[in-house]
Amino acid sequence: MESLLEQYAGIVGHEVIDHLRQLAGPLKGMKILHVNSTKEGGGVAEILNRLIPLKRELGIDAEWEIVTGDKDFYQCTKKMHNSLQGNRDDISPSLLETYEKTNVHNYERLRDKLLGADVVFIHDPQPAAMISHCSDRRNRWLWRCHIDVSRPYRPVWKYLREYIRQYDASIWSLSDFAQPLDQPMYLIPPSIDPLSEKNMALPEKEIKEYLRSFGVSRDIPVLTQVSRFDRFKDPIGVIESYRLVKKYVPVQLVLAGGGASDDPEGEQVLNEVKDFAGDDPMIHVLELPPDAHRAINALQRGSDIILQKSLKEGFGLTVTEALWKGKPVIGGDTGGIRLQVIDHFSGFRVTTPEGASMRIRYLLKHPEIRKTIGKNARQFVLENYLITRQLREYLTLVVGMVFGSEEKIELRMHER
């Protein structure tokens, strides 16, 4: 059976895989531990699901653990998430106490692994406080932030910053997100996995079958937004855009949301969306389980235009997924969408439902432009946003941390 790396070579080229093997040479046998809060749902879990086996194949002893907590813990971390993205959402002392206690509990449970690893990657705020309990550590800890922290609600950021400043370094998706800290702040955008069920090529028959099962017709243009039911993703604004378009062109809207186990607000937002959609048969609000990867893949491939009209966005991996499938994307002018959606090249960035509706109508009117944009989009992702690029940057970072902090590190053969 073909190894994972060989399978990627078929997509990105053998030279890219050889490059990864050589870069990983000095890290062979090293123990690297990743910790986040969920194994399913959300971009972080999806990437870790593939990064860990890839690192192992390169000879690195990589492991992945999750922290667990009760409803109050997730309510607290959801509030942290929202506040870091700019919501003025104060967190009560009792919820913060739950956060701290849950981190102590998880630290005790994972202590041996945390102290035994050479490098520890802690993802997002949920497990961030564990670091304060291991003052005797001799390994390196990095905090990986997947959230748009460009304008955080200061009281919450100030609270969290006391933990983050204890890390040896932090990693941010974009320079706009990086908050001033007295530590190296690496910039590594996330990526998608072209071999995963969510991104692999699908037979046309399967795409048709999925659309049929969701009641989506292929005879009328399909607009789709795939994202959690979260106010920052602006699902209400998407419905407003759709309503403006359908005054001129017959069109269908799919709002497909996968839940994540660490998001307690999702159900409330979903109900708001359903109420707003009313009984319009052309709006399909789909609640998909976290493992509905093939269904999401089919929906994206079966759509004419993909929307990601976020008001705030970390990076926007659903945008990357859509571009990879050769679809033009109309996205909010925020966060990582700015890196990916370039006007007239891979789609359009918009700030209002009105703006989105104009761009939708323009693209529906010009199928040849949709085709050109789709071709650009796929090539753009191939060169910049596949998992092999993210892995390369993680490896470079770890080599940098182990072998020195100079601007240029030259490894001699015996070090490899």
């Binding site: 490059h19 050589q22 320079s175 706009d176 590594i188 890196l339 490896l395 940098g400 590190i409 490894l411």
Partner: protein
């Protein structure tokens, strides 16, 4: 004459935020005065090894920002033509950027500014260089290897070499020169590859074409 073989080195880059940003042209000038020296390499060349949109108009980040965020095409064009390798060292590049801004500020009645969220972020980079273990003794041996060279190798031997070598040239041309006049035409073609406005993939293709033109037996 005993000519040493050509060792293929490779490199990988990771970007590091400095936390320094500028929202107006005046702020950019002030921050340039104290910016980390590594920022200049990153903003002129680092993008080639970093995920980004290949801007068809401008090669360096200063020009892109001036055009897209300040909407000042005049200064954008002045930034765009700055070739960092035409200067003795990074400090001279820093000074040139500052002078271009000073000149612009003296001509305008208001200071160009960017919207919040569109500031210029100073970024530096860390590069890891490693030996691939591959050495070529004869230029003809490289014909089939160049199309398979990693983009990191292309960057190291064609971009990084220009700041590393005394002659400010790419490594391959310097190595080929050791063979006397044998590869004179090939060296000329390699030296004529303009590293501005093209991606590393395109640069690899142009190097391959030059080798095929001069060294392929049936050429």
């Amino acid at each position: 004459m005993d000519i040493q073989g050509f060792r293929i080195l490779d490199c990988a880059l990771v970007a590091i935020a400095t936390g320094v940003k500028a929202q107006t042209l005046r702020e950019l000038r002030d921050k340039l005065k104290t910016a980390h020296p590594g920022c200049f390499f990153y903003h002129f060349w680092g993008g080639l090894l970093n995920p980004h949109f290949d801007d068809p108009e401008f090669q360096n980040d200063f020009a892109v920002w001036a055009s897209r965020s300040l909407n000042d095409s005049g200064i954008s064009e002045k930034f765009a033509v700055i070739d960092p390798y035409a200067f003795e060292n990074i400090e001279d590049v820093r000074q040139e950027l500052i002078e271009v801004i000073e000149e612009r500020l003296s001509q305008t009645e208001f200071v160009p500014w960017a919207k919040t969220g569109h500031e210029f972020h100073f970024i530096r980079s860390q590069i890891v260089v490693f030996d691939t273990g591959v050495t070529f003794l004869e230029p003809t041996e490289m014909l089939h290897a160049i199309p398979r060279m990693s983009l990191g190798s292309i960057f190291y031997h064609f971009i990084d070499a220009r700041r590393r070598t005394e002659e400010r040239k790419n490594d391959l041309s310097l190595w080929l020169a050791a063979f006397g006049d044998t590869y004179k035409k090939l060296i000329e073609d390699l030296d004529n590859i303009d590293p501005f406005f093209i991606s590393l993939t395109r640069m690899r293709r142009e190097i391959t074409l030059a080798f095929n033109k001069h060294l392929k037996v049936d050429a």
